[in-house]
């Protein structure tokens, strides 16, 4: 009797056996010695999925209106980052260098900073200058605060005392030999608030947000969500208009895009109703500092990627502001759910490998679990205890058993992918080579994405962004021919 059959026997070829063996690219291919694959057991680092701290501080600064980062280091520290921004955003990014030469290495960077600040103020009239240190100035031991005091004194002498009202200064210590760009952004978030935020006593209904390395499109999507919810908001480090500006001759020179967070918004942050860090590793230090100093309620939430993460943001916002969740938000959420249900045959049980910055990966990890995908190898380019914890929590919730490489390099991750091929790779542009080699589609997200046009404008966060991201993911799977998969016939 059919009722007596406890388990339907499955016979035939299993999914795993159907997989085509990857042919090595050349007959000379030799797999690396096994003991050298895990990055923790090596001194050598190959293809890191992170870069150094100053980039994070520069990124944050470029989200401020008429702000220029002044990088206390050699010229390369600036040029490389400018090139990175140019590739990602296809926008000009003005970043000044202290131009360290041998004399600075011998005598320190005092002269460079004093003269550099003077030139910058004189030639560019910025409203804010962030002094970003590098490994050189940190190894030399430059006393930035006293150099800056001297520079300000000279500015007052030359241009009159009002010049210091027009230009504010923030010092961000970012020694490149520790942490990564994520930590650099985190430090910048704290230092900007520490230098600028004040409490006037009159409370405001405004809620502040620190977006982390979100793209202009993501920030716009967040603003849309906040408007729907009727939340008065300030996005701190708002690159949505500074690194995505329309074409057109500028009204005056030097050129500054119209957008960016105003200095006053940082000043008023002390009065804010709450501060949200939407990228735990990049920005939470600022939120925590504001809470400690001015008792502003602070919330550190995972990046709002997918349903659950966005739900958490919406619910928390609703609790903090006392406003209900409007119908329009539920409608957008419904559309995301509809899209997920429509496409479940393409996503369910697909093996996915993830790589990138901890905040992005932890956020997307929950989303891919919600889609019913099987996350296999997860690379956190920057070591992060909180992201790993979040990933394990989600994994337990959904019964997944991923391999998490916390702070590893891409070499380690790629070796794992070569031996156990996923169906799709979710990662940044530096995952192109491995995706091509193992012959699976790559869906790009996170930092850095430089080989797509318009990526920076297309959101991946919140409900609508999630729907867009899902569509990209499914289309990538549809575009790719699976020899062993008949789902899209």
């Amino acid at each position: 009797m059919i009722n007596e059959v406890k388990e339907i026997p499955v016979t035939g070829i299993t999914y795993k056996d159907l997989r085509l063996e990857k042919k090595p690219l050349s007959p000379a291919y030799v797999p690396p010695p096994r003991e050298l694959v895990p990055s923790a057991k090596r001194a050598v680092c190959i293809d890191p999925s992170r870069t150094c701290m100053p980039l994070g501080a520069m990124w944050a600064t470029l989200g401020v209106h008429r702000a220029i980062p002044f990088v206390q280091g050699a010229q390369g520290c600036t040029t490389y980052v400018r090139y990175t921004f140019a590739r990602i955003f296809r926008e000009p990014a003005s970043i000044a260098s202290a131009s360290f030469h041998e004399d600075a290495a011998v005598f320190g960077g005092r002269k460079n900073l004093v003269r550099g600040i003077r030139n910058l103020v004189c030639r560019y009239r910025p409203e804010l200058i962030s002094v970003v240190t590098t490994c050189s100035s940190e190894v030399i031991g430059d006393d930035i605060q006293s150099f800056l005091a001297e520079a300000q004194e000279l500015l007052e002498e030359e241009f009159g005392p009002e010049v210091l009202d027009l230009t504010r200064f923030v010092v961000v210590n970012t020694p490149s030999f520790s942490g990564s760009h994520v930590e650099g952004y985190n430090r910048a978030a704290r230092e900007f608030l520490r230098a600028l935020a004040r409490k006037s006593g009159s409370s405001s209904e405004r809620v502040c947000f620190i977006p982390g390395f979100m793209m202009p499109g993501d920030i716009r999507e967040l603003k849309h969500l906040f408007s729907l919810m009727g939340v008065k908001h300030s996005v701190l480090f708002d690159i949505s208009e500074t690194l995505d500006a329309p074409l057109g001759p500028p009204q005056s020179l030097p050129y500054y895009p119209r957008g960016g967070t105003r200095v006053e918004e940082f000043v008023r942050a002390g009065d804010a109703q709450a501060i949200f860090s939407l990228s735990p590793d990049a920005g939470s230090a600022g939120a925590k500092w504001l809470k400690k100093r001015y008792q502003v309620p602070s919330f550190v939430l995972p990046m709002p990627l997918g349903v659950g993460n966005t739900d958490r943001l919406v619910k928390t916002l609703s609790e903090v502001t006392g406003r209900g969740i409007p119908e329009e938000v539920r409608y957008e959420r419904g559309i995301l759910l509809d899209a997920m249900a429509d496409t479940l045959h393409y996503t369910m049980m697909k093996k996915v490998a993830l790589a990138g910055d901890p905040d992005f990966v932890a956020g997307v990890f929950r989303f891919v679990c919600e889609l019913g995908m099987e996350p296999t190898y997860v690379l956190l380019g920057t070591k992060s205890a909180s992201a790993a914890e979040e990933i394990w929590k989600v994994a337990e919730e959904y019964g997944k058993r991923p391999v998490v490489m916390n702070g590893g390099d891409q070499f380690e991750w790629e070796q794992a992918l070569k031996e156990d091929r996923p169906d799709v790779v979710l990662g940044h542009s530096r995952c192109v080579n491995i995706a091509r080699e193992i012959g699976v589609p790559l869906v790009r997200f996170g930092f850095p994405v430089y080989d797509r046009v318009g990526y920076q404008r297309e959101p991946i966060v919140a409900y609508r962004g999630g729907e867009r991201f899902l569509a990209r993911l499914v289309n990538a799977i549809l575009d790719h021919h699976y020899p062993d998969d008949r789902t899209h016939q």
């Binding site: 001194a43 680092c45 040029t79 131009s99 041998e102 910058l120 030639r123």
Partner: protein, 425 residues
């Protein structure tokens, strides 16, 4: 529109070459490490290892379109405080066992390890003795030179130390020196030389490997392309091995033809074969160009480019009928400016962002040729711009076919409707 700063107006003046960068001047110049990576990036059969923080490793992967894998020590606080040579030694051995096929290794120093005073050469010598592979140290901390040119020189000095004396080939064989194979440009040069019966031994450093560099002396002649980066290298090979060299340029019709004649003369090839090739190639190009020349004629061009390319491209644009109203090098030498001066109007070096902006608004060029960083500013201002290096799929700009590519790209930029759509009123 105001083009003047509020506090102290800095007049827009032509700057001579060779000045140190002014701090805070928003220069586009880079560091010595960048220069060394630029030259050595694609050298095959070598292990490339950066001794420094993870940023230098990460950014060192961005130079040049094609490159070999880059490894690094990703030094942390412990190495800065207690010294990182032990880590470097371990990393080097690990790298050599991960890539056992390499013939040698390049070790790059960076600011951090330069400042802590690490002596990379002791590790290099040790490993060299043990593994019998060449380990070359690039002493290129970012602060050590005023621009990337210092790094270029260091890199070529390292390559030069690899070259061994050998037997000259009897057949006409040449090396391309200072040719970086941007978007496959070397292919066209090799094609033209092959048409003359000249074989190319190696392309430094666009398409080369250590074994080819070691046997450079097999060639009878060095063709020097980029004078800014590789002139010393060519001179060095001449003095050490008596290898003659000629300066050539394959940018533009007259320059390509003149260079082919020079090569033929230096190798003692038959003049008639060269003239035949030139006549055939030039005829095709001229025919293709003729209907397009009225579009280029009298248009105003502005160049903001590295160093060695300013002169050749200014000449090329003049040849196409452009008026070069301004040219700015990023880290030019007096020689580069001498080359560019006859063809260009305003000539300056190391322009800051504000100077580029004022150049644009004062000169109002019809076409701007610039690098991949600054091109976005130019476009933002609404000026048609073409960036170097170009994408590979658009093809190289060298030689006769390259000129057609370039002319086609310029035509696209000049005729793109986006720059002249009627404003919304």
């Amino acid at each position: 529109m105001s083009v003047c700063g509020a506090y102290g107006c800095v007049p827009l003046a032509a700057k001579p070459c060779g000045l140190l960068t002014e701090p805070g001047g928003m220069s586009q110049r880079s560091c010595a490490y960048f220069g060394a990576r630029y030259v050595l990036g694609p050298v095959k059969e070598a292990l490339h290892l950066v001794h420094g923080p993870v940023g230098c490793l990460s950014y060192g992967q961005m130079v040049r379109g094609q490159r070999e894998p880059l490894l690094g020590t990703a030094t942390g606080e412990a190495e800065i405080i207690f010294g990182g040579l032990a880590r470097l030694r371990r990393a080097l051995y690990e790298g050599l066992s991960l890539f056992p096929e390499v013939r040698g290794a390049f070790l790059y120093a960076t600011c951090a390890t330069g400042l802590t005073g690490e002596d990379l050469s002791t590790v290099a010598r040790e490993v060299e003795e043990e593994t019998k592979k060449r380990v070359l140290v690039l002493d290129c901390p970012g602060f050590s030179h005023s621009t990337q040119a210092g790094g270029h020189a260091l890199a070529y000095r390292a390559l030069s130390s690899l070259v061994r004396e050998g037997e000259r080939a009897a057949a006409p064989v040449v090396n391309l020196v200072g040719e970086y194979n941007v978007a496959g440009e070397a292919e066209e040069i090799v094609r033209l030389l092959a048409a003359l019966g000249v074989r190319v031994h190696t392309v430094l450093t666009g398409k080369t490997r250590l074994s080819e560099i070691e046997t450079l002396t097999r060639a009878r002649l060095n063709l020097l392309f980029c004078g800014s980066t590789a002139r010393d290298f060519a001179e060095d090979l001449e003095s050490r091995f008596g290898m003659p060299w000629v300066k050539v340029s394959f940018y533009g019709l007259s320059a390509t033809s003149a260079s082919l004649r020079k090569v033929a003369e230096a190798l003692g090839l038959s003049g008639s074969a060269v003239e035949e090739l030139i006549a055939r190639e030039e005829a095709g190009v001229r025919e293709w160009l003729r209907p397009r020349l009225p579009l280029f004629s009298g248009k105003r061009a502005l160049l903001v480019l590295g160093a060695g390319r300013v002169g050749p491209l200014a000449r090329l644009l003049r040849e196409l009928g452009f008026e070069v109203v301004g040219a700015a090098s990023i880290f030019g030498t007096p020689r580069d400016h001498e080359e560019a001066a006859p063809y260009s109007g305003f000539l300056t070096d190391d322009p800051g962002d504000d100077e580029v902006e004022r150049l644009l608004s004062l000169l109002k060029p019809d076409l701007v040729l610039t690098n991949a960083r600054e091109v976005w500013r130019v476009i933002k201002f609404g000026f048609p711009a073409l960036s170097f290096p170009q994408e590979k799929r658009r093809g190289g700009y060298a030689g006769y076919r390259g000129l057609l590519n370039l002319a086609r790209d310029i035509e696209r930029v000049l005729t793109a409707p986006v720059f002249r759509l009627p404003p919304l009123v």
